[in-house]
Amino acid sequence: MDISSLHPLVLALLVLGGLALVFGAILGFAAVRYKIEGNPIVDQIDNLLPQTQCGQCGHPGCRPYAEGIANGEEINKCPPGGQDTINSIADLLGVDAPELDAEHGTESELSTVAYIREDECIGCTKCIQACPMDAILGAAKQMHTVIADECTGCDLCVEPCPVDCIEMREVEVTMQNWKWQLPSPLAAVNSDIIASDRQTPQETKQEDTAA
């Protein structure tokens, strides 16, 4: 049968139908071949959360809360992350950034780490069981101690200790983590300003007289 003998309408239908099939097949293949594992938005949100795993948001960890947010939960429940985290999640999701929900706790200025007063520890291992970070080192009937570098300061080990020998301590400022502070725009005189070698009133006067 000669193709050209077909009715133009039928021909058009055939061609379009064929194209639809071809593209459908390509798309279908691509969908299988380049399948994205997991829920990308949850991963992105999880990336922004501080990973303190403290459970103050009401979820058993940061990822569950990320999933909660992806399912429409409020984004202002994470006190350790604070306003910065809320802002960046709001940015990501394209919503307005709300204030931190005080119901879940307040943002603290200083980061803390747990510290075990070692001579009081009775080695009950209860803190190890509580620590989501595996940041406590110890064994039954042995003294326990916190690996400060791994501790996120989540507080969860303080409560279970039967002898109350765990306390939260502020992270000390050292040469390694010290940084300059932003100048306060309100401070009339900031004594740390450099580039202060501008012309002094005296010099200006001299120049004036010279002129």
Binding site: D46, L49, P50, Q51, T52, Q53, G61, C62, R63, D84, E120, I122, C124, K126, P132, M133, D134, A135, K141, E150, T152, P162, V163, D164, V173, T174, M175, N177, W178, K179, W180, Q181, L182, P183, P185, A188, V189, N190, S191, D192, I193, I194, A195, S196, D197, R198, Q199, T200, P201, Q202, E203
Partner: protein
């Protein structure tokens, strides 16, 4: 041959103020009484101290070694004694204190023998680098980058240009200028040596701003003079001068001026084949290699209107700034502030004790007129001056907005990290906005955020790993549980089959049923028995060693060890009772197989029986061969002994112990009466039992050997023994233990008492439950024989125990009140609160039957011990 100059983009012309310090000649400062050497004088890992307090050190002696490749050594700059290694004020923008080695100088200034070398150009690259590192040389222009690292670029970077930086563009500072005038020959020699280290680059350029004509002249003269000498590569050395402009001395800026090349963003000069060294560093390297003299002094400009004289001086590293300033007639009152470095890139020193370090090129102490407080910042008027001034081609005004809004992404997109913090933008800003401060702070924030990001990623990993581990453990437990369940079911099925077989036999009796039950419970009795025995042995060993240690220990340790000892005891008891139970069970099981009614299906068990079982049998037999009556009588006699002893002790004891002793005696007496009663009962039953036993034994025709047979008989007997009797047995055992514990508690000294009492209390609880069971049982079986005595005896000690605890608490409270010092009292109080809390928790845990009860109790005991200790102080 004249070098082409490429103009610097941006830049500013601040007042140079260089004349002040050039008026007086270079001088050498005296040795201060105390020198302070910060361990972190360079970028990278702080050095590691290799001296100890009290060591005598000589000038040039290494007192701290480089800690890893990215580090530099530190040397004493004069002779003296190490007086401290501690945190001291150091020259750092943060004002934080850092670890320092403090040397008390003896004024003799003795030095080690510096070992130089005849011809440094013959030494190979590696040893030269090593020498430089051990001479502790770090960039002396201000940054303090370890020179050994800089001179050892990655092998794939072919270095074609070496630049010696003599620019010194920062106002006020003239240290390098003076150095170039005084040591021009060493600079030329040094740069040929550097060229040698770098494998002979094509060009060696010494860049000097044209506001230092004397320095340029001196360098050119020396170059001509040295050309005659045989220095490899001297023909490639050029002195290049270029117009003065701030900040042409920046490394990247200087490269641009001299070569027209731009260092890529985030890259290093070595990436485009260039290495830059400061003139000061060049001289230091030459001295270190040629003369073997490490970096122990430097030229520092001391300048500012609050000094009587201003000038340059050769300063021993480690001299306190205060000392240096005093040598120049420092008038502290007129000083506006103390600045380390120049006015553009330096920073205020909050503490004038901070020492001169390798990077200290200038101490600036301006008067209030000279450097008034900056004017208050005003709003940005978007004039764009800052962008014109920026030598790095950035948009300072944009950066300023983003820094305020903390938009790190945009800051990065606008190349904040390429800002050299030169301060040119701040300098030109008509609104006096401290722009650089914003950039410095933002850079810090971004770095911090990166560190935190990294940490949170690690946290996530750890958390997820933990999650997985817990899941896996759960799954394993579940699998094991399932397996056990299956095994139990299989065993049950087997037992059911056995029971079916047994049913066909004429006399299917309760023994068969019991056997089936026991079989279902235990898959491999031999193994279990061995395990239990091992546990008992372990526990006993541990107990012994704990006891030994405890007896040897003193003071603090004693309390700690005691709780451990007690635990070991508990564990041993636990293990023993388990073993005991098991043996009872197996004793009940073993005779069953050869029971005539169910002989055929269970014979395999006997054939399989190996050593442990035989042993167990023998043991069980021994135990069983002792009739309950005999046992009770044994108990009675031992009880009598103990009673006598206790009475003796009670009479000897002093007043406050007597009460406890007497209570113990009383209890022993009670127990004696109850035991006697039991014996009577047993005697009444005995004949009956013997009958049953003899009646059963001959029924066994298939007997394998004698002991087994007897064990079987005894087991039969046991099976026939009423549960009430069994309970009685265990009650007896418990009571013995209680008595022992009470005795111990009574004779214990004060600080051990609570621990003992806790143990007593525990035992009493156990006794009470057993007794309750007995009463219930008796009430069922023999309503006529009410077990009143048992009930009574259980009531009394329990009350006594709690009363004792109450007493201890009251005592503690009273003692706490008595203590004079308030602080002490507060401590005691807080401890008491914690005890209370612990007590509550313990109570709760006990109520819930939580398996952490032991831990809680231990905690409580420890707290109490601590309280005692505190109170006794």
């Amino acid at each position: 041959m004249s070098q082409l100059i490429y103009p610097l983009r941006g830049g500013v012309h601040p007042p140079e103020n260089k004349q002040q310090s050039l008026q007086s000649p270079l001088r050498r400062l005296a040795i201060p009484g105390e020198l302070v050497f910060p361990l972190a004088q360079h970028i990278g890992a702080p050095a590691k101290a290799v001296v100890e307090i009290g060591d005598r050190v000589l000038a040039g002696q290494m007192i701290a070694e480089p800690n890893g490749p990215f580090s530099a050594a530190i040397h004493a700059s004069t002779s003296g004694t190490v007086s401290a290694i501690e945190a001291r004020p150091i020259p750092h923008a943060s004002g934080l204190w850092g670890d320092c080695i403090v040397v008390a100088a003896d004024g003799k200034d003795e030095s080690i023998d510096f070992v130089g070398c005849e011809n440094p150009f013959k030494i190979d690259h590696e040893s030269l680098i090593e020498k430089i590192r051990h001479a502790g040389i770090a960039g002396m222009g201000g940054a303090g980058f370890p020179s050994a690292v800089k001179l050892n670029p990655p092998p794939n970077n072919n270095i074609d240009t070496l630049i010696i930086n003599g620019t010194e563009c920062e106002p006020y500072i003239t240290a390098d200028d003076v150095l170039m005038q005084e040591r021009s020959e060493d600079i030329i020699r040094g740069c040929t040596l550097l060229a040698h280290i770098l494998n002979g680059p094509d060009r060696i350029l010494i860049g000097v701003e044209d506001n230092k004509p004397k320095a340029i002249a001196a360098l050119e003269q020396s170059l001509l003079k040295l050309a005659a000498e045989d220095l490899p590569g001297i023909d490639r050395v050029q002195v290049v001068s270029f117009p003065t402009k701030y900040p042409s001395g920046g490394e990247k800026q200087l490269i641009q001026i001299l070569t027209g090349k731009e260092v890529p963003s985030g890259g290093l000069p070595a990436h485009i084949g260039i290495v830059v060294q400061n003139v000061g560093t060049t001289v230091a390297i030459w001295e270190a290699i040629k003369h073997g003299k490490p970096l122990i002094e430097r030229i520092t400009t001391v300048v500012g209107e609050s000094l009587k004289e201003q000038g340059n001086a050769i300063v021993k590293l480690g001299s306190p700034s205060q000392f240096v300033l005093e040598q120049f007639g420092f008038q502290e009152k007129s000083c506006a502030r103390l600045i380390a470095g120049g006015p553009m890139m330096g920073f205020s020193l909050p503490d004038s004790r901070a020492p001169i370090v390798k990077t200290s090129n200038c101490l600036l102490v301006p008067s209030h007129q000279e450097m008034p407080d900056p004017a208050p910042a005003q709003a940005c008027i978007r004039c764009g001056h800052c962008a014109e001034a920026c030598p790095a081609g950035l948009l300072p005004q944009q950066l300023y907005w983003y820094a305020q809004a903390k938009e790190h992404d945009r800051l990065l997109a606008h190349n904040l990290m390429d800002c050299i913090e030169c301060g040119a933008c701040s300098f030109v800003c008509p609104s006096s906005i401290p722009l650089v401060q914003y950039y410095r702070a933002s850079k810090g924030e971004i770095r911090q955020a990166e560190i935190e990001k990294e940490k949170s990623d690690r946290s996530r990993q750890r958390f997820e790993f933990r999650q997985k581990r817990i899941e896996r453990a759960e799954a394993e437990k579940e699998a094991k549980r399932l397996a056990r369940k299956k095994a139990a079911e299989a065993a049950k099925a087997k037992a059911a089959a056995n029971a079916g077989a047994a049913k066909t036999a004429p006399a299917a009796d309760p023994v068969a049923a019991a056997m089936a039950r026991v079989q279902a419970q235990q898959s491999d009795p031999a193994e279990q028995l061995a395990k239990l025995e091992r546990a008992v042995n372990n526990a006993r060993n541990r107990l012994n060693s704990a006891e030994e240690k405890w007896q040897q220990a003193e003071g603090d340790q004693k309390a700690k060890l005691e709780s451990r000892f007690k635990q070991a005891q508990l564990r041993l008891q636990d293990a023993e009772s388990k073993l005991h139970d098991f043996k009872q069970q197996s004793a009940g099981q073993n005779p069953a197989p050869s029971n005539p009614t169910s002989a055929s299906p269970t014979t395999p068990l006997n054939i399989d029986s190996d050593d442990p079982i035989e042993r167990a049998k023998a043991k069980a037999q021994q135990r069983l061969s002792m009739s309950p009556l005999e046992k009770a009588e044994n108990n009675l006699s031992s009880l009598n002994d103990r009673l006598k002893k206790a009475q003796e002790k009670a009479s000897e004891a002093d007043d406050d112990k007597r009460a406890a002793m007497e209570a113990a005696v009383e209890k022993l007496k009670q127990k004696k009466t109850s035991l006697e009663k039991e014996i009577d009962e047993l005697k009444a039953q005995a004949p009956l039992k013997e009958n049953t036993a003899t009646a059963e034994t001959p029924v066994d025709p298939n007997s394998i050997d004698d002991p087994i047979e007897r064990a079987k008989a005894k087991a039969m007997q046991r099976l026939n023994m009423s549960p009430a009797e069994k309970l009685q047995n265990s009650l007896q055992a418990l009571q013995t233990r209680l008595a022992k514990a009470e005795e111990k508690a009574a004779s214990a000294d004060e600080d051990r008492r609570p621990a003992m009492q806790a143990a007593v209390e525990k035992l009493q609880e156990k006794i009470k439950t057993v007794e309750q069971e007995i009463t219930e049982f008796k009430a069922q079986e023999e309503p006529a024989k009410p077990a009143e005595s048992a009930n009574e005896s259980s009531g009394i000690p329990l009350d006594a125990a709690s009363a004792a605890i109450e007493k201890a608490k009251a005592k503690a409270a009273a003692q706490a009140q008595m203590s004079d010092s308030e602080k002490h009292a507060a401590q005691v109080e807080s401890l008491q609160q914690r005890i209370q809390k612990a007590q509550q928790r313990l109570d709760k845990a006990t109520e819930e039957g939580n398996d952490n009860v032991d831990a809680f109790r231990l905690g409580l005991e420890k707290l109490q011990a601590k309280l005692k200790e505190l109170e006794s102080e």
